[in-house]
């Protein structure tokens, strides 16, 4: 209902503003400035926390109200995007593959982070799990539709293990931590800051998303913008990218200060924040334009291949009705803002 109302009010608002534009003289559009922007950020450890904490986006956009909304996981973010509740968002590769294939009106504009051991599979120490085969008959949790769910099923497929030989449960990260504390789970593949709670309560790390990257399954989060917003306020997308790039640079150049910020943002100990930081790889914006990541506008990079691979997998899981060609995933990736910022 809210969605429909939202749409109705947006169309009304859209046509009204179009009329005012027509009535007024043309140079207005050059000064197009949003009243407010909403940034949905994922509840994980990356430089978006730095950008938010230091108010870097606000600095780039004086006079614009900037609102940050914390979103639990990719599935929730997809819904927020579909309901047009955010202007900017962050998505892992599986939700991105879903969103792009289902033709959500979004563009991928930058790399937020590459996932290393900040995402990992934790196993109960006394469950005696030494290999994926030992998971048979055990209870394993992962947030469905997320990067870790994708890696779990991909790893099982590679080892030739039938996923139905174990119980795989769909739980959100905070619920995993709660269920783990009760002893309901034998293994779980999820991410910080909740991952640490499981490790501290009788768990040890068995597999990390970084190891899976080396096996050819990189996972990452990409920054996205709503197409309608990008069309209306292209300079503000550039400003956003600039602010996030500054956040990434800050992260790389000031690790001690960054750890303090993360500890503050996520209510963690400094020591834990420092370790979690190391588990996330930040890519400097200039490097994002290389073929391993976004690539350039003329030659889209490896992210498109990851999306093709992820979609193919999701189709085999019947989570996606069909798969698109690489060309279509290339269209989603738009490094042009990055190119302008880096130059």
């Amino acid at each position: 209902m809210k969605n429909i109302l939202n749409k109705v009010s947006k169309t009304l608002f859209g046509s009204l503003s179009a009329m005012t534009l027509l009535m007024m003289t043309f140079p207005i559009e050059a000064f197009a400035k949003p009243k407010k922007i909403t940034v949905g950020y994922l509840n994980l450890v990356n430089a978006q926390l730095v950008t938010k904490n230091l108010g870097l986006i606000q600095k780039e956009m004086p006079g614009v109200e900037v609102e940050h909304i914390k979103v639990g996981g990719g599935g929730d973010m997809l819904r927020a995007i579909a309901a047009k509740q955010v202007d900017f968002g962050g998505l892992g590769n599986p939700p991105t593959a879903i969103g792009v294939t289902r033709k959500l009106p979004i563009d991928g504009i930058m790399v937020l982070n590459m996932l290393d051991f900040v995402e990992a599979m934790v196993v109960r120490t006394d469950a005696n799990i030494k290999s994926f085969k030992d998971l048979k008959g055990k209870t394993v949790a992962a947030p469905f539709g997320s990067t870790t769910h994708y890696l779990l099923l991909q790893a099982l497929a590679d080892e030739g293990i039938d996923p139905s030989s174990m119980t795989i449960l769909d739980l959100r990260p905070n619920d995993i931590a709660a269920a783990w504390a009760r002893g309901d789970l034998d293994a779980a593949w999820f991410w910080e800051p909740n991952l640490d709670k499981a490790v501290k309560r009788g768990g040890n790390i068995f597999m990390t998303s970084g190891i899976m990257e080396k096996r050819g399954y990189p996972t990452w989060d990409v920054g996205v913008v709503m197409k309608s917003f990008a069309k209306k306020y292209p300079e503000y997308v550039e400003k956003f990218v600039k602010a996030e790039c500054a956040g990434i640079d800050f992260w790389i150049n000031n690790p001690a200060k960054t750890a303090k910020i993360i500890a503050e943002e996520l209510s963690l100990d400094l020591e834990d924040a420092t370790r979690m930081m190391k588990g996330t790889e930040m890519v400097p914006c200039k490097k994002q334009l290389t073929s391993q990541y976004m690539g350039t506008s003329d030659d889209i990079g490896g992210f498109a291949d990851t999306l093709v691979k992820t979609s193919k997998f999701l189709v085999s899981q019947k989570r996606l009705p069909k798969q698109l060609k690489r060309k279509d995933y290339e269209k989603f990736l738009d490094p042009s803002y990055l190119e302008k910022v880096v130059d």
């Binding site: 819904r79 469905f144 619920d175 269920a179």
Partner: protein, 276 residues
């Protein structure tokens, strides 16, 4: 009209269930048809984005597909069966506890004073807020799901029963007592028969409310159930499965309600027709 024709007409009428012969049924059908036609028009003309509102044909296809091939390992029947089982188990439990509690609270001021704070406090709490705690206490298995549904069903039952008992005409009680009826006789032959219809109405409302909590109850660590199916499909933007699931959920709810009314009429034949 000849006798024969009248006879024929009656014969045809015999095959139409009584509720369909009513004029109100025609009006109800009008609403359903208008909704359906709007749906077709909006989707066929491209007014609605297919991602958010797929056409009826798409929904039908997904119904067939999920019924035959299943959704994530279970067929539609299994999903519905799992959910209806959960709901009925929790609801029956709630009836066994809520109705006696309500009779007690309706008949005794002391019992009401003792139990009221508890019920009045948790009744307005949002189920999801409660659920986090239930998961921590009872784990991620069936227990926490049943507990949530049970807690959703309980207050409606208790409140309706209290009302029902308090509204009993005191003359009935006085007459029964005057004729020397025992407490047991009063309970079974005065309280329950007189309060029955209102309790049944409370049960129907309570069952409806339990239904609304179903999706919430199946969000955490379920792998079957119609609520879970809707939740999971929404995550992957499979809106055809979501809408199909909602329609099936709605129809199952109507089915359960009809079933309740049927039981009510058998148990309490003195009850007036309770309306739609």
């Amino acid at each position: 009209m000849s006798n024969n024709q009248i006879k024929n007409k009656r014969n045809i009428k015999r095959f139409i269930p009584p509720f369909m012969r009513k004029k109100t049924f025609a009006y109800s059908m009008l609403t359903v048809n208008i909704l359906f036609i709007t749906w077709v028009v909006v989707t066929e003309t491209g007014l609605a984005d297919e991602l958010f509102l797929p056409g009826p044909l798409k929904i039908w296809q997904s119904f067939i597909e999920v019924s035959t091939e299943g959704y994530q390992g279970n067929t539609l029947f299994v999903h519905v069966f799992t959910s209806v089982n959960r709901i009925l188990a929790a609801f029956i439990m709630a009836c066994f506890i809520g109705i006696p509690m309500g009779v007690l609270m309706g008949a005794s001021k002391i019992a009401r004073a003792l139990l009221n704070p508890l019920i009045e406090f948790y009744r307005p709490l949002p189920p999801l807020g409660l659920y986090t705690l239930l998961v921590m206490w009872l784990g991620i298995g069936e227990e926490s799901k049943l507990a949530l549904l049970f807690l959703a069903a309980l207050p409606g039952l208790i409140i309706a029963t209290i009302q029902a008992v308090q509204n009993i005409d005191p003359v009935y009680l006085r007459v029964a007592k005057g004729l020397g009826a025992s407490k047991k006789t009063i309970l079974f032959n005065v309280y329950l028969p007189a309060a029955g219809p209102t309790i049944l109405a409370g049960m129907r409302i309570s069952l409806g409310f339990t239904y609304t909590v179903l999706v919430a109850a199946e969000i955490v660590a379920a792998s079957a159930g119609i609520g879970w199916m809707i939740w999971d499909a929404a995550k992957f933007l499979l809106s055809d499965v979501v809408i199909m699931g909602l329609i099936v959920l709605g129809l199952t709810g109507i089915g359960l309600d009809i079933f309740m009314r049927f039981i009510g009429r058998i148990l309490m034949p003195w009850t007036r027709y309770l309306g739609p």
